[in-house]
Amino acid sequence: MKQRLLVNPIDCDGHGACAELLPEMIALDEWGYPLIDGRPVPPALIKDARAAVSACPKLALRLLEVTD
């Protein structure tokens, strides 16, 4: 089962914790909001991705299981 990152842009306030913890897949735009790599998270980065999800103060970031 693959996993992808998904942000709820309404909940996201641009704290930026996710980009610090997972710079390989999350960059910040010029206003501080996350630009997320929508491809499946490589196995080597799953642990960091979980940390990024947990670190979001707004619980706006999720890891979704995808079937493909």
Binding site: P9, I10, D13, W31
Partner: protein, 426 residues
């Protein structure tokens, strides 16, 4: 309300002089409501017909019906069906016109869709600025019907651009502001009161009511093989007057917009749509297969010609300002990007833009795309990018302090009121 209506395809709209807005005349023309006496039986016919949503997204109608039926059976709850007549594009008048001239066709479709998904309640959602004329007629129409299986409630949308967006509509009917929410879970799964909900554009339901009567083969007699049937268009030619036309999908653009000689560009799909130079537009047909070649789509059927005496940049800047003000301001990229984009295009149109403004605007258009809970930033970015492409020569002229327009009067309609407080979204 006295809409200018043209139809060579009298399916949804009455022919000249014909009046079918009252129940008796409607029943005399169309007969009884063709109930199937079984949930789900109509869905196969709708699938065979190839009907897609006429509110803008062109999503296959049967898939929404099937999703709501499946979710409600699984959750053991009765869904709600909603007819969405709150066309919020200021340049569109097709749903209001349909509800005005043929309200019972939409209400028949609402009853039949309710039966198809096993719904026990129904809502007809219309726009506030139509509450006086269209709203009054709908109230009367609902009271006149006698073969309805499901009670229909009339609801009025606030006069905001996003009020007709599917999740905004649910939020409003649930007692909150008419602003979009995160699209997951889907409304078909968790909509009104948290139960599965079917939201269909008013015109889509009118087509559904006709397919239920005459069958999918009849529906496919016009239109293209891939995109069958007809659609309602709001057409503004160079004279600026809106005309509501019922057209087969695939109709060539020059057949719809006469007098292309006095026109510089066409706006296809409304304020979330695409500007196309007139030479290119003249070769297009009004179906998504053809329009996708220029990054456009039929959308909600809005087609507007820009007369040669107007400036496309000035028009676009005015519309973009409106779109930026109509952002619900919930998502960071939209909240930050749209006002900056608006300021940049206004500066370019005034010929007072610092170096790099155009590059900023193009970058921001890319940056906001796909990053909102709804498609407002995407549609706005598409509109802006197409304006920069289509009016490139005008952009250079404005950079030198000149403008090709000889008529400074605003052309396309833009509402004056902007939301100032949260109350304005209720």
């Amino acid at each position: 309300m006295t809409p200018a209506v043209t139809t060579d395809v009298p399916r949804l709209l009455p022919r000249d002089g014909e009046r079918i807005q009252n129940w008796r005349a409607h029943s005399a023309k169309f007969g009884r409501i063709p109930y199937r006496n079984a949930a789900g039986s109509l869905i196969n016919d709708i699938e065979a017909s190839g009907l897609t949503g006429r509110g803008g997204a062109a999503f296959p109608t049967y898939r929404k019906l099937a999703a709501v039926l499946e979710a409600s059976v699984r959750k053991r709850v009765r869904p709600t069906v909603i007819a969405n007549g709150a066309e919020s594009e200021p340049a569109s008048e097709k749903d209001a016109t349909l509800l005005w001239l043929a309200p019972h066709l939409v209400l028949d479709g609402l009853q039949l869709a309710a039966e198809a998904v096993g719904a026990e309640s129904a809502v007809l959602y219309t726009h506030a600025h139509r509450a006086g004329d269209v709203g009054a007629r709908l109230r009367e129409a609902i009271a006149d019907r006698f073969d309805d299986h499901v009670a229909v409630r009339l609801a009025i949308a606030p006069p905001r651009f996003l009020a007709g967006q599917e999740t905004a509509l649910i939020s409003h009917l649930d007692g909150g502001p008419a602003i979009p929410r995160f699209p997951f879970p889907r409304v078909t799964e968790q909509g009104l009161d948290g139960d599965p909900t079917l939201v269909q554009n008013a015109e889509t339901l009118a087509h559904l009511a006709l397919i239920a009567r005459f069958g999918p083969g009849w529906f496919r007699e016009i239109g293209t093989r891939r995109e069958p049937g007809s659609f309602l268009a709001t057409v503004r030619r160079a004279d600026g007057r809106p005309r509501i036309m019922e057209l087969p999908l695939g109709t060539p653009v020059p057949e719809v917009i006469g007098g292309l000689g006095q026109v510089t560009a066409l706006l296809i799909g409304g304020y979330h749509g695409t500007w196309v130079p007139v030479a290119r537009a003249a070769k297009l047909r009004l179906d998504n297969e053809s329009l996708s070649s220029v990054g456009a789509s039929v959308g909600a059927g809005i087609l507007a010609a820009l007369p040669g005496d107007r400036c496309g940049l000035v028009e676009s800047a005015r519309i973009l300002r409106y779109l930026a003000l109509e952002s619900a301001g919930q998502c960071g990229p939209c909240l930050n990007g749209l006002p900056r984009m608006s300021a940049a295009l206004t500066a370019l149109a005034r010929g007072r833009a610092p170096r790099g403004t155009r590059a900023d605007l193009e970058r921001w258009a890319g940056l906001v795309t796909g990053r909102g809970a709804c498609h407002h930033p995407d549609g706005t970015a598409r509109f802006v990018a197409s304006a920069l492409r289509t009016f490139a020569a005008e952009l250079d002229r404005h950079g030198r302090g000149q403008c090709g327009a000889t008529n400074a009067a605003p052309f396309l309609p833009v509402p004056q009121s902007a939301a100032r407080t949260e109350e304005d979204w209720l």
